[in-house]
Symmetry: C2
Subunit: 150 residues, 2 copies
């Protein structure tokens, strides 16, 4: 299942900056990031519960976390020159939207990738910042193969 | 594909209010609503373009629109007593998260349902409010069969 017809222009003009600076993609990606992370966090916390009860939660992933992940994955080249944290977070969202719309990864695939990278105490806010950034670094490294070399 | 293990409690205590007032579900549903509507709007506008170019956009669906849709679908019984617009919007989000987590509808299914209900000029803000409310009414009516009778 893919939405290739929504990205025909980007498949033709297949460049890191065309994908990474697309504002529409970033808006779609915002919801993809928040949905994937919310479900991943819910799964992780549910599995950790000793009493086998369910733990459902949602988290907006902060721009700072996403910007940090882009840098750590060495993918700043997808962002515009002199990009600030907000621009770089948009780039992460645009990249993940491109991968999802092209059908290379489903929401479930992204959730699974994030869950695999989660560890430690996610209910501790400071710890969660580090852990979630690392999880997005891992996800970004995983989607590189679907993206242009330059 | 389902995340039934995240909703075992709600499947056991299968009541309209248990689902419709669950805060964790509402948080997950927020991203589901925004993703589904953003993609549906992008598809609708892309298909309407005469020059066959792509139109990607994202929209946060306002609380007012979702609250109106809940009332119009006669599903206020899922919300708490004396619910305000914010509560009712949360209820719509919780309901759609429940349906998605239980695997009854995928994001693509929700996108398709919304696209089928879209019409008119979505680039006109006032028109979009009416149109999008109607689209969510149709979607809510469609998911009723997966929900408790009371």
């Amino acid at each position: 299942m893919s939405y290739d017809f929504l990205i025909t222009d980007l498949k033709k003009n297949f460049s890191q900056k065309a994908i990474g600076t697309d504002k529409g993609l970033a808006k779609i990606g915002d919801a993809i990031v928040n949905l994937s992370y919310s479900v991943a966090k819910s799964i992780y916390l549910t599995k950790k519960q000793l009493n086998a009860s369910c733990y459902r939660t949602g988290s907006k992933v902060s721009k700072k976390i996403l910007a940090g992940a882009l840098k750590e994955a060495n993918m700043k080249s997808f962002s515009k020159n002199r990009a600030d944290a907000h621009d770089m977070a948009d780039t992460v969202e645009a990249i993940l939207a491109f991968v999802w719309l092209s059908g290379k990864m489903s929401i479930q695939d992204m959730v699974n990738s994030l869950v695999d990278s989660l560890s430690g105490d996610l209910t501790n806010y400071k710890e969660e910042i580090e852990i979630s950034r690392k999880a997005f670094v891992d996800l970004l490294n995983q989607v590189k193969k679907y993206l242009p070399d330059k």
